[in-house]
């Protein structure tokens, strides 16, 4: 081995044993800077996202959209934008919404999402028809346990599963209840989850009652769920923040085409610049790590 080979090998060796906090710092900067100085890129919806969007958009008018908040605060960064986008889509098209949670920690997130989106629409509303009203246009059934009680019971009678809604109001007394009695009145249940709950919806609700299931999932689980998309058990799927961004884009295009005055903040789309930069940084890290590995291995040989 020549002296220059040794020097080169030493450099790569040191680079491989660099304090991991330098890696942390690079990741922090790579994600932060594009958030402050974004490069506007329009996401294009992939088939799993556009399938879900089109189904919800075109399902019969009287069918409600059910959103199951099956995620908890730890994955809310990825999944919460999906809930917001789905609620906006439903409210913008005048569709009734029923929201529930199979996770106790999902309740607060569902409440936040409904409060935010309802106020976005109500701020612009000029008539009663334009407004989005709790108990009339949407209902937050809340949470119950165990999950199979919810999934099977909703196919029979929803008010038996949720005698009171999240706010403690008797569900039988709500004006929306005669329109959403059980799965027959629901077009699709979209389960947004960081766990395998969407599969439980398929196993319990779909197998027994034939209800359509849509899935919003963390990117970690998304690759595993393609097999359920392929079999048609999931009508569509939003995979991670990217899936949420694509749904936001489809909705923005639809609202723009309809000349809607709504201008809504799109958090997932805003994140795409950082996501791009971070992916490139990770790839660079892996490439550098591998070059170092092969150079030092050759040096040792």
């Amino acid at each position: 081995m020549t002296a220059s080979d040794k020097t080169r090998s030493g450099f790569w060796d040191r680079l491989q044993r660099i304090d991991r906090r330098w890696v942390f710092l690079v990741i922090w900067l790579v994600v932060m800077l594009p958030l402050i100085f974004p490069f506007g890129i329009k996401p294009k919806a992939m088939p799993p996202v556009s399938r879900l969007f089109s189904y919800i958009d075109t399902m019969p008018e009287e069918k409600a959209l059910a959103i199951s908040i099956d995620y908890t605060p730890d994955t809310q960064a990825e999944l919460h934008p999906m809930t917001i986008a789905l609620l906006r889509h439903a409210f913008a098209t005048g569709r009734r919404v029923g929201m529930l949670s199979t996770q106790v920690y999902g309740l607060g997130l569902g409440e936040e999402a409904l409060r935010q989106v309802a106020s976005e629409f109500n701020e612009k509303a000029t008539t009663h028809e334009d407004s989005v009203i709790n108990g009339e246009d949407y209902v937050f059934w809340g949470w119950s346990t165990p999950f199979l009680t919810v999934m099977l019971g909703m196919g029979e009678r929803i008010t038996n599963v949720f005698p009171v809604d999240y706010y403690g109001v008797t569900t039988e007394s709500l004006p929306i209840t005669p329109h959403i009695k059980n799965f027959n009145d629901i077009g699709i249940v979209v389960s947004i989850a960081g766990s395998s709950t969407p599969l439980s919806w398929v196993a319990y609700a779909q197998t027994q009652f034939g209800i359509r299931i849509g899935c919003g999932t963390t990117a970690v689980s998304a690759a595993d769920y393609y097999t359920y998309l392929n079999s048609g058990q999931f009508t569509g799927m939003l995979a991670g923040m990217r899936g949420a961004a694509e749904y936001e884009q489809l909705l923005a295009d639809k609202l723009a085409a309809a000349g809607s005055p709504l201008s809504l903040r799109r958090k997932a789309t805003e994140a795409m610049s950082s996501q791009t930069a971070a992916h490139l940084a990770i790839i660079v890290f892996i490439v550098i790590g591998n070059i170092g590995y092969f150079v030092t291995r050759r040096g040792k040989q």
């Binding site: 994600v31 960064a77 106790v104 165990p146 199979l148 923040m241 990217r242 992916h279």
Partner: protein, 214 residues
């Protein structure tokens, strides 16, 4: 946008959330008392939150309300079975905890067997089989054939009942190729997921707290 004002009722909570966020991030430098404080606080609040909803949304509407009105009195013995969970902390009678567990576990296992077999085996098998209908669109037909072959090869890799030689050897190796591509896809998406979680926190710190982004 400006930095959140800590002297307003909303602003003070933004500051609390930001300080707690930074306390957790301080772990990246090294473990420290701020992180430990945040960790312990989280466990406490999470349990308090759960107690609230188990009480207000399960025990009150399904147990205490009907029973106090003289309805569904059969719920009293059921509640007593449920209360056996407390015996878990009394060593002499801790075996009594098996009764509520037995009911929940038995129902869960029994209910899942037929439904899971249908959803995760029968429906998946149906989707794997290639029929003439699969070729309604020729491209989809080709993909369906690749999926069928990939499934067979993948399963054959996990076939440990006989020695891997003869035809099984190349088939299981093709299975490895499919598995590696699948794991690579999962890894790529895991990177995306983890980065998204960090972006979410930065959106809060830079937006809601510091007002640097809208």
């Amino acid at each position: 946008m400006n930095i959140a004002n800590p002297l307003t009722p909303e602003g003070i909570w933004v500051w609390v959330a930001a300080i707690l966020t930074m306390a957790v991030f301080s772990f990246l430098y090294r473990e420290n008392p701020f992180y430990r404080f945040a960790e312990h606080l989280f466990v406490g609040i999470a349990n308090g939150y759960a107690i609230t909803f188990y009480w207000h949304r399960i025990l009150v509407p399904y147990l205490f309300s009907p029973v106090s009105q003289g309805q569904k009195l059969y719920l009293i013995p059921i509640a007593m079975i449920g209360a056996l969970y407390f015996t878990r902390f009394i060593p002499k009678v801790s075996w009594l905890v098996r009764f509520p567990i037995a009911i929940a576990l038995g129902y869960g296992a029994g209910a899942s067997i037929p439904r899971s077999v249908d959803a995760t085996i029968i429906q998946q098998l149906k989707a794997t089989i290639v029929t003439r209908a699969s070729f309604a669109d020729w491209q989809q037909g080709v993909w369906a054939v690749i999926i069928l072959l990939g499934v067979i090869c993948t399963i054959s890799y996990f076939f440990f009942s006989s020695e891997r030689k003869g035809l099984l050897k190349p088939i299981s190796y093709v299975g490895v190729v499919f598995i590696m591509v699948g794991f690579g896809a999962s890894f790529g998406y895991t990177v995306m997921a983890r980065i998204s979680l960090f972006i979410g926190r930065l959106q809060f710190l830079l937006g809601d707290w510091l007002g640097l982004i809208r």
